[in-house]
Subunit: 325 residues, 2 copies
């Protein structure tokens, strides 16, 4: 991001009012690998102190293979910090911009990003609201809120003009995800989403199945005759580990945000536990389009083949199955 | 394990014939965290050379947050090596014994463990057959093979006597899994499986739901009136990332093995992509018991609540839903 745009963004973060107040704690594993535990940096705490927060306590919250987690109790509330040994431009910029774009759309509860930046050891951090969690989610309300988020007018001017993508690239479970702005949803999804995963998998049978599908559906056009696709802000990786109940409603976090077809949000719903209540709430606001069931297989295939690229195994077979007639 | 038992086990590994010849490559991410990449040890290669294998090439295969992966090409075939910075007793013993027990049952293809051991830096390694993969799985055949494995007479003498558990504890996706031998399946599952996860979650609502279920079902007994449960060897973590097609049939790997009720194998099937063909094959050999659908919720709850303990988020709500009447 250009320096000017970055300064504007940080100013925006610093001055933005809390669009929706919500507080929940991201639960993290207490069985984090030792390597991650070593990666704490004091840069986040130092930034907070330099910016008028008085820190009362710090607590390690484990980590993943690529980041360490911490909570900071301050005089102005509790915060959740992720630290990585890679620079912010590669690690946390996409997450920060994504969370901010989701918050801007309203509807669903999203943790507020306070700041992200580099430390002096080549690593980086992101500081966000610590959300407090609890209670059983009202799934119907969650469905409604997500539909409202999908229908919100895009905050991004390029998306507002009708383009699909995002201002930064990001990752989907560790796999790079390209978000170059594209005026056609079909072009975007075919080239930067599903096609990219199919190429990455390097399976001749999967490639052949995908080529055959493109040939039979006029490059997917025949599967989209019932809808006019508009850019919706998407969480992009909505499974059960990435939403949680808060006192103010269900919160979503750890996104892989971009502007795309709202139906693509359900590509991870095989692992999201959406029940009948959820779908009733969602469908009250966005009714099901006739060819949804067919497109859903495409949207699932993106994530299933990504799982193959990450984990291998039977996912390849599942991906081929989803793309087969 | 006592030294004598361990020596016996290593002798068994060294002399065991290939129960079912199969070769497939475990696919691993090329986007492994840098921390994992540093963890290679030469101990595995040294052991192989000391034991008559001539190494022609080594290749890094990425890693996870807790291990690094490598393939070794030798004059006696190709091998797959995992390296960790923790001792074998904690890391690879459970995997080695688990794979061996699964192989002993026959039915499904399982990579042969060549050796596991500690290196001189406090870490450890496991060396197994490198399986070659390819082709679309014959899911009906896979279903049949898994059912045969479940029906096999236990290789372990304690399991053969009708006890449930395993000779070592292991982990389920990073969470410790206790396998203390128990003569009653219900006691074993209630205390060492589902109950342990419920306690770990620390949610009063989940605990209340579980207590209520126990009360209403006479400590689960009412859900098992249609079956006589016998100890079956289980993979224990059977999802789409843990099976793959090989030229000789579907192979399973990365197990969390123990002897338990065969239906418990399907606790991960919400992420396993088992289709109608698979179930037809399985049910040809093991017909569905009347109360299977009710018990399946229990078996899923174990893994769903484990996912909550690992990842947090909406899994808690799913777990509560599975245990609710």
């Amino acid at each position: 991001m250009a320096t000017r745009a970055r300064a504007l963004f940080l100013l925006l973060l610093a001055t933005s009012s809390i669009i929706r107040p919500c507080f929940t704690g991201l639960r993290t594993s207490s069985r984090a690998p030792r390597s991650a535990m070593r990666r704490f940096s004091n840069a986040a705490a130092e930034w907070m102190e330099a910016n008028g927060y008085e820190i009362k306590s710090k607590q390690g919250r484990g980590g993943s293979s690529w980041a360490s987690f911490q909570t900071l109790e301050t005089d102005k509330g509790d915060f959740f910090v992720k630290t990585s040994n890679r620079p912010a431009e590669k690690m946390f910029k996409g997450e920060a911009l994504g969370l901010d774009a989701l918050r801007a759309a309203g509807g669903v509860c999203v943790p507020r990003v306070v700041h992200y930046g580099d430390d002096d050891k080549g690593g980086s951090y992101i500081i966000m609201q610590k959300l407090s969690m609890g209670g059983r989610p009202n799934m119907k309300e969650f469905g409604r809120a997500l539909a409202k988020m999908h229908l919100a007018e895009p905050a991004d001017p390029t998306a507002k003009e009708g383009q699909f993508g995002f201002e930064v690239d990001n990752t989907i479970g560790g796999t790079p995800q390209s978000n170059t702005w594209t005026s056609s949803w079909l072009d975007f999804f075919r080239e930067q989403r599903l096609g990219a995963q199919v190429r990455m998998a390097g399976s001749t049978e999967l490639q052949r199945t995908w080529d055959q599908l493109l040939k039979e559906t006029n490059n997917l056009k025949d599967l989209f005759t019932d809808v006019e696709v508009k850019p919706s802000i998407l969480h992009g990786d909505l499974w059960s580990g990435n939403y949680e109940m808060t006192p103010e409603g269900v919160a979503i976090f750890d996104p892989a945000t971009y502007y795309g077809h709202h139906e693509a949000e359900f590509g991870m719903s095989w692992c999201a536990g959406f029940n009948r209540d959820f779908w009733q709430g969602y469908r009250e606001i966005i009714p099901e389009a006739p060819l949804f069931a067919k497109r859903r297989k495409l949207y699932e295939a993106y994530h299933i083949i990504n799982h193959y690229n990450l984990f291998g195994g039977g996912y390849l077979y599942q991906g081929i199955g989803l793309l087969s007639p």
